[in-house]
């Protein structure tokens, strides 16, 4: 009798393990999807929109649409890129021991701002769109 009870107890455990493995696979897939979700076509679309002043970098470390509403493919490109950025900012933040928000804002401050070419628009810390 105690033997059969322990067997019954192990069955749900196996299910739990399967569930955990399954959830991990799904989570990895989602993470990979976010990191590689942005295609080269989307990158080209964003670069063109930056030249037109439709899209710009923001002080929070993400892309923003300066003149909404944007066409659906462009809005999706911005959204996919921002999701992927959020994921990598999170990794850097964890490695350094700070938050995703601080890492993202620091990215703009230390790297992205200096790379903005003259004529492009960016959104400053006060939330205003400014032309470089």
């Amino acid at each position: 009798m105690p033997h059969s009870v322990s067997r019954e107890a192990t069955r749900p455990m196996t299910f739990n393990k399967l569930f955990v493995v399954g959830a991990a696979v799904v989570a990895l897939g989602v993470a990979a999807g976010a990191a590689f979700g942005q295609t080269s076509e989307q990158k080209a679309m964003i670069d063109a929109a930056k030249v037109q002043g439709v899209v710009g970098e923001q002080a929070d470390g993400y892309l923003g649409i300066r003149t909404p509403p944007a066409p659906a493919p462009l809005a999706a490109a911005v959204s996919d890129t921002n999701d992927a950025r959020r994921a990598v900012y999170g990794e850097s933040a964890r490695a350094a021991g700070t938050t995703t928000e601080v890492a993202a804002a620091r990215m703009f401050e230390s790297q992205l701002f200096a790379r903005i070419p003259a004529g492009h628009w960016y959104r400053n810390t006060a939330g205003q769109w400014v032309q470089r």
Binding site: A95, T98, R106, M107, S110, Q111
Partner: protein, 64 residues
């Protein structure tokens, strides 16, 4: 004799204004400037974060 006496209230006014400004400015800047948040980070975290972000940019040119 008279000019130095006039100077005293003026100096006090300037000092008072300077004190008020000095008292207010950091409070305003804390709300809008991420540099202020960043400045409160531990020095080690700052150095580590900047290195991480440089690597991040180099490894993900498609995202920036």
């Amino acid at each position: 004799m008279t000019p130095p006496k006039r100077l005293i209230p003026t100096t006090l006014l300037v000092l008072g204004a300077a004190t008020l400004l000095a008292g207010c400015t950091p409070t305003i800047r804390l709300q809008v400037d991420p540099i202020q948040i960043y400045a409160r980070l531990d020095a080690d975290v700052r150095v580590r974060l900047d290195q991480e972000l440089r690597d991040l940019l180099a490894e993900n040119p498609n995202l920036f």
